[in-house]
């Protein structure tokens, strides 16, 4: 059973019936799903959720779609890992990693697409579409394949090979747009207005975005039905960041956790940091930027939810940081070397910004912190290729191996 009631404008509060629309006709503000929280409170309990499947569908009462239309390829209920070695390395007492690299297409986008495709099928759409720098493309392609739907997937023509293959294998209509980032934006905005597709982050965006709340639900459940003291999450459009906070608030509203006092901090790449830059200038008005960063999955220069992300930081007394490309690579390596988790560049952004936030005192050592790692590293191996310790190359003899190992250790000792 689902409890969505209407779409409501986040700016002026006008309500609309549940339809594939995304902005208010009066003020052009974004629409968001409104729920019957009293009904949800009656319908769910900690026990009923715990008895559910080990996927995001254990929270189906809180999702804005009829579960009968779901396309379940195993998304969600990803591990929450206590990261003691990383915590020690960066100066925290308690750090958790929410590892969303384990989703079916190795990124958190499977959460939002799961909800978008269920709602699209409920609306009667026959085709899904998206414009993406990789992760969303992969997820839409996979879910559409599993549903037997057509998929139109638009990507820039300079994408990492892993992300191209990660879509092509599901056989969507994959379109490499010969043009820059602005050209892809313009083309897809025009197509979205004229084609009978469920464009996941345009006409079904109000539903799609709600899938990110399941990250907060899972963290709260996995922590023993409570919210953490601090969250560090990557920011692209800002949607994920705002929905994590919304998820904690909703769990309180329906009686599953106590009042959350989580401080929300956001992470961006220095080469695309409109939200962090606005935060650092103490304004809610961001200035759009032209992205130039290796963290392609966070490269959104004109973030649709940037204002709302800044509001969440203000409301929760959180913070924001940005990381250079070198720091991003270092962050990927630090997470891998301390916790055995290979993240894509967005994960490097999160770890590097977490380090900065701790170093500056914005996160206190004793604040229990959850860092969200939203995509797997095999998609962006180009970022770390040539920056890792080279393998030992030896002929097949024990003596040669020992000599090479001794030489490597001597170099390491000399450098230490």
């Amino acid at each position: 059973m689902s409890f969505e009631q209407a779409l409501r404008c986040r700016e002026c509060g006008r309500e609309y019936s549940l339809a594939p629309i995304f902005s208010c006709e009066f003020c052009f503000g974004p629409l968001e799903v409104a729920y019957d929280y009293d009904g949800i409170r009656e319908a769910v309990s900690r026990d009923s959720i715990a008895r559910g499947p080990a996927t995001l569908w254990r929270y189906e009462a809180l999702l804005p779609c009829d579960p009968a239309y779901k396309v379940d390829i195993g998304t969600g209920f990803t591990p929450l890992i206590r990261a003691d070695r990383l915590a020690k390395a960066i100066g925290l007492d308690t750090l958790w990693i929410k590892n969303d690299t384990t989703n079916p297409t190795w990124s958190f986008k499977d959460r939002v697409v799961s909800v978008a495709i269920a709602r699209a099928r409920q609306f009667g759409f026959q085709a899904m579409a998206c414009a993406s720098t990789g992760n969303l493309a992969n997820s839409v392609s996979a879910h559409a394949a599993a549903a037997g739907m057509d998929a139109f997937v638009f990507i820039p023509d300079d994408l990492e090979a892993g992300k191209v293959v990660g879509s092509a294998v599901y056989a969507p209509t994959l379109v490499m747009v010969d043009g820059n980032y602005d050209d892809v934006n313009r083309l897809c905005t025009e197509l979205a207005g004229t084609r009978p597709w469920a464009f996941v982050n345009i006409n079904v965006r109000p539903y799609y975005a709600e899938g990110s709340r399941t990250l907060a639900y899972e963290v709260a459940e996995q922590l023993g039905w409570r919210a953490p003291q601090h969250v560090v999450a990557p920011m692209a459009s800002g949607s994920l960041f705002t929905k994590i906070w919304k998820g904690f608030q909703e769990f309180e509203k329906v009686g599953l956790i106590d009042t959350p006092h989580t401080r929300m901090s956001g992470a961006q790449a220095a080469g695309c940091s409109p939200i962090t830059t606005a935060f650092q200038h103490d304004t809610l008005n961001f200035v759009p930027q032209k992205p130039n960063t290796i963290a392609r999955s966070l490269a959104i220069g004109n973030p649709a939810d940037g204002y709302y992300a800044l509001k969440v930081m203000e409301e929760t007394h959180g913070g924001a940081e940005m990381a250079t490309d070198d720091e991003i690579v270092a962050g990927v390596k630090l997470l891998a070397e301390t916790e055995g988790i290979f993240a894509e560049t967005a994960g490097g952004v999160t770890i590097a910004c977490l380090q900065r936030l701790v170093a500056s005192g914005a996160i206190r050592r004793d604040e229990e912190t959850v860092a969200f790692i939203t995509g797997g590293g095999l998609k962006t191996i180009e970022a770390v290729q040539g920056k890792l310790v080279e393998p030992l190359r030896v002929p097949p003899s024990t003596a040669a191996f020992d000599a090479a190992l001794d030489a490597r250790r001597a170099v390491a000792a000399g450098g230490a």
């Binding site: 414009a131 993406s132 304004t283 008005n285 004109n302």
Partner: protein, 80 residues
């Protein structure tokens, strides 16, 4: 007739300039402001432009030449 929803961003040195007023006089476009905010560091306006498609594009190009950043009111539709 066509219409386009856009977001104009003004840097501080442009905030006092009547760019939208002038746009409506120079080009055959109707400018319909729906949301706006201005502070000391930046100002933005979300508005709908109505007119012939070519005239809308000409007016946007002119605004950009004045130093206004013009983006889709939707935000970017390309995602990660």
């Amino acid at each position: 007739m066509a219409s386009k929803r856009v977001r104009f961003t003004f840097e501080p040195d442009l905030i006092k300039q009547p760019v939208i007023y002038l746009m409506g006089h120079r080009f055959q476009v109707v400018t319909n402001i729906r949301m706006a905010d201005v502070d000391n560091s930046v100002g933005w306006v979300v508005l709908e432009l109505e007119g012939e498609a070519t005239e809308i594009e000409r007016s946007i190009q002119w605004a950009q030449e004045q130093g206004v950043r013009v983006d889709s009111a939707l935000g970017d539709v390309v995602e990660g």
